[in-house]
Symmetry: C2
Subunit: 200 residues, 2 copies
DNA sequence: ACCTGAACACCGTTCAAGT
DNA sequence: ACCTGAACACCGTTCAAGT
C-alpha cells in the first residue's frame, strides 16, 4: 500500500516531513477502514512497513499522532472549499461550508469525532473559523458579533455531524438525519444569521 | 470510599443492580479525578475493592461500562432540571436547559464528551430531547418543525459545551467562552426559536 | 542516520478454580 | 453465589544495540 520498496531518504528527497505525512496518511486510512480502536502504534507501523518504535521520531507518541490526524482532517476540509473562486452569495457559501463539514464526517467517521474531542491548537484548525467569519462579514453581521456567532455555528456544525456519525444525538425515528433534513437545517442556520443582521 | 466492609449481597438488599450502580459511580468519580485515559477496568475495580474480573458480571466489559457512564450523565442531567415545578416561561426553561448541560460538562469534563461520541441508545438519553421538545411546543413552534429544531439545539448545546471542555472549538482570544458569552449565545438561541415561530 | 530486539509496565478478557 | 489466580494476547514506550 505504501510506496514500493524504497529505501529511507531515497535520493535525498525532502523526506523528514514527507515521511511524517506518509505515516499520518496511513494512520488515517487505517482508522477509516478499521475504526479508531484498531489504530495502535504497532498496526500503523505495520501498514507503513516499519516497527512501531520507528514511528516515534516522526510522530512522537500516540497522542501526538492523534493530534496529527486532527490536523489532517482540518487540512482536508480546507482543501475541499478553497478560498479562491468563492461564491459571492454568502448564503451559498455558508451552505457549502456545512456540506463540506458533513462530507468530511462521512468520509472519516472514525476520526472525525477527534475534531471536537481534542484541542484545536494547530494553525490549520482555524481554517473553518476563518471561513465562517468571512461568511458572517459578507452577510453584514456587525463586527462585534462575528466571533461569537462563528463559534456558535462551528459548535453546531461539529456537534450535529459528530452526532450523525457516532449516533450520539438522540434522534427521532431515523438514526441519521437525511440529506434533505440537513439541507433544511442549513436553511434555518441561514435564517439565524439573517436575524443577527437585522438585530444590529 | 465505598461502603464500609460490607459483605456481598448483605442482608439480601436489592444488590444486583445496586452494585452495578456503585461500580458505575466509582468509575465516574475516577474519570472525574484522573481523566478518561486513567479509567482501566483494573483501576475501577481497585476503587470498588475488587479485582477487575469481578466487574464483568455487573457491567459487562469496558465498552458497556462506558455506555453506563453515558447513562449516568443523562440521569444526572435529568435530575438537575426536574420536570415538576417547571417555569411557565419557555425562554427561561430553554436557558435553564442550556445552563444545566454546561454545568454537567464542567462537573464531568472527562466523561462529558462521551455523550456525543457514543450512541445515545438508553432510555434516559432521550430526556434532553423530550425537554427541548416541550420547550419548543410551549414556544408555539409548529409541531412538524419541533423534532428537527430540537435536534439542532441538542447538537448545538452538546457541541458547544464539549468544545469548551476539550478545547475542540477553535476559539478567539480566550480558550473557553466566558459565562457571559454563553448567556449571550443562549439569547441568540432564544431568538432562533422565536424566528421559527414567526416563520410558521 | 535510521531502524530494530528485547524488555517493561501496563491493558481487556477468559476460565478454571476457590470459598 | 460471588470472587480470584493465572494466563493470553495485546498495548505504549524506552533504550541499547545493530547496520
Amino acid at each position: 500500500l505504501a510506496a514500493k520498496g524504497r529505501s529511507p531518504a531515497e535520493r535525498s528527497g525532502a523526506s523528514i516531513t514527507d515521511k511524517r505525512r506518509l505515516i499520518l496518511d496511513q494512520a488515517l486510512a487505517l482508522v477509516d477502514e478499521r475504526g479508531l480502536a484498531a489504530m495502535s502504534m504497532r498496526a500503523v507501523a505495520e501498514r507503513v512497513g516499519l516497527t512501531s518504535m520507528a514511528l516515534y521520531p516522526y510522530v512522537g507518541g500516540k497522542d501526538a499522532l492523534l493530534d496529527g490526524l486532527v490536523d489532517l482532517l482540518h487540512l482536508e476540509l480546507g482543501a475541499d472549499i478553497g478560498n479562491p473562486g468563492a461564491d459571492p452569495d454568502w448564503r451559498h457559501r455558508l451552505r457549502a461550508l456545512g456540506r463540506a463539514v458533513r462530507a468530511l464526517a462521512f468520509k472519516h467517521p472514525g476520526a472525525f469525532p477527534l475534531l471536537l474531542n481534542r484541542s484545536a491548537a494547530g494553525a490549520s484548525a482555524s481554517w473553518l473559523t476563518a471561513a465562517l467569519r468571512g461568511v458572517l462579514h459578507d452577510a453584514g453581521v456587525p463586527a462585534d458579533r462575528i466571533p461569537r456567532l462563528a463559534r456558535m455555528i462551528c459548535a453546531f456544525l461539529l456537534g450535529y455531524t459528530t452526532g450523525e456519525v457516532t449516533g450520539g444525538l438522540p434522534a427521532g425515528p431515523a438514526p441519521e438525519a437525511t440529506e434533505q433534513e440537513f439541507e433544511e437545517d442549513l436553511a434555518d442556520l441561514v435564517r439565524l444569521v439573517e436575524v443577527a443582521v437585522r438585530v444590529a
